[in-house]
Amino acid sequence: MANNLNRPALIVVIGVLGFLVAISFNTTKQLTTAHPERASDLASVVRDLENQRTELQERLADLRGDMDVLEAEAAEDAGISDSYSRELDQARQAAGLSGVTGPGVEILLGDGGDVAVDGDPNDYLIHDTDITAVVNALVAAGAEAVEINGERVVATTPIRCAGTTVLVNSARLGSPYVIRAVGDPGELEAAVADDPIASLLFTSYKAQYGLQAEVTEAEDIVIEPYKGTFRPQYLLSGQGGQG
């Protein structure tokens, strides 16, 4: 009964087929493990890079702490510890490398509800321009420190979109977005309500597209320090400046 199936040609060729399948498997396996840059799955490359970044940020924070101790000792030995640490603190605070606490506002922005039948899905999402409008309104009204989902906004912070995510510094943020700002709570809230572009999020866009948009005043806002670096590559230090 089995005779007509046991053709030597058939058997050999099926063996070859198995071999080809295995080669295919080997190749794919090699791509996604050994060489992340050539991985066919870009999403896993992004995840790897983000893990690396978190490790690097932690290592940097540790090193900075150690370095601080060393510098403080050196300053004390040289007798200039007071002025040195004052200058350093001032620079760090101005740059955004220190956390900040105080009264202020917390603003929640989130993507909207179900898209209407003939609606444009983009209208139901929070965009980078929405976030920049709110942040601008806050700082124009005197906010002293601003963060978005834990990313501190500093002098070199870009806020832009890549696909449907928002990139702040180099971090990928997704809805919902919590924007925290320290300052006079009443003035900050008024600034957002009066801003021609930002206010729309809390009124008509919210009603029409079901966006999440809330402003909450609080007495104890905590703002994260900036986790990146300030290493000028093109700048030469200028003369003058404030004391």
Binding site: A43, V45, V46, R47, L49, E50, Q52, R53, L56, L60, L63, G65, D68, E71, A74, A78, Y84, D89, Q90, A91, R92, Q93, A94, A95, S98, T101, G102, T132, A133, N136, V139, A141, E144, V146, R152, V154, A155, T156, P158, R160, A162, G163, T164, L167, N169, S170, V182, I223, P225, G228, P232, Q233, Y234, L235, L236, S237, G238, G240, G241, Q242
Partner: protein, 261 residues
Amino acid sequence: MGVVGELNPRRKLVHLRDESWRRIVESEKAVERSFQEGRLFVSLAAGMLLVGFLLVGQWRGYASLSSDLSRQSDQSLGIIIEEITAENSELRNEVLRLELRMLEAEREGIDRSEVLNEAAKELSGLRVMAGLSAASGPGVTIVIEDQEKVLLAQDFVALVHDLRAGGAEAISVDGKRVIGISGFAGEGGDLEMDGAALAHSHHVVALGSPSDLEQAVELPGGFVSTLSTFPGVTIEVSQEESLMVPAADTIQFIYGEPTTQ
């Protein structure tokens, strides 16, 4: 199975086909019987149930969050990858630099002057980028004419973010330094930045890599292409070797209290 003798191959094949036909007819009758008995109904129902499960799984999988990486286009992922790679290499350099300094400091022993020298250099770099000192270096100047007064505060906000995305290390608008807490307000020709009125012809300076900066504002859909279409608006971007931006106004914390790390 029927009795099959030594038929020649052709006849065997025909016989097989006849057999198959007969079996098809017989199975059709069996189908009717089992249908009446409800067995087919049960297996059909099971099949539909499975399809239902699969449909829901597919539906749910498709409606995932906007931050789900697998739904992003390759181009967006590419942008993100470039960003994070650049950030990581900056972080790595900083880590190496600090580790080196620590090694040297430990070796220096009693002599702390090297440590202090390095610390002073770092401090000055930090002050410059934080806006506490004036800065100079290569970059771009952008001259914007707004005769019809159509530009909004939001347009300048967009410009600043475009420049930062292009790696700007220091920016000034109409002679005022732009830092993290600088905000634009006003519209219809009465623009102001941090409370100071801006004129109708604007002079923006950004320090950084001249080519990167120019590219960042001239991207399709970016600042230059969008705003050049407004009436009375002309924008001119030029790369320069040596520019200056002033220091920012004193940065004070009135409401907020910095926390030590």
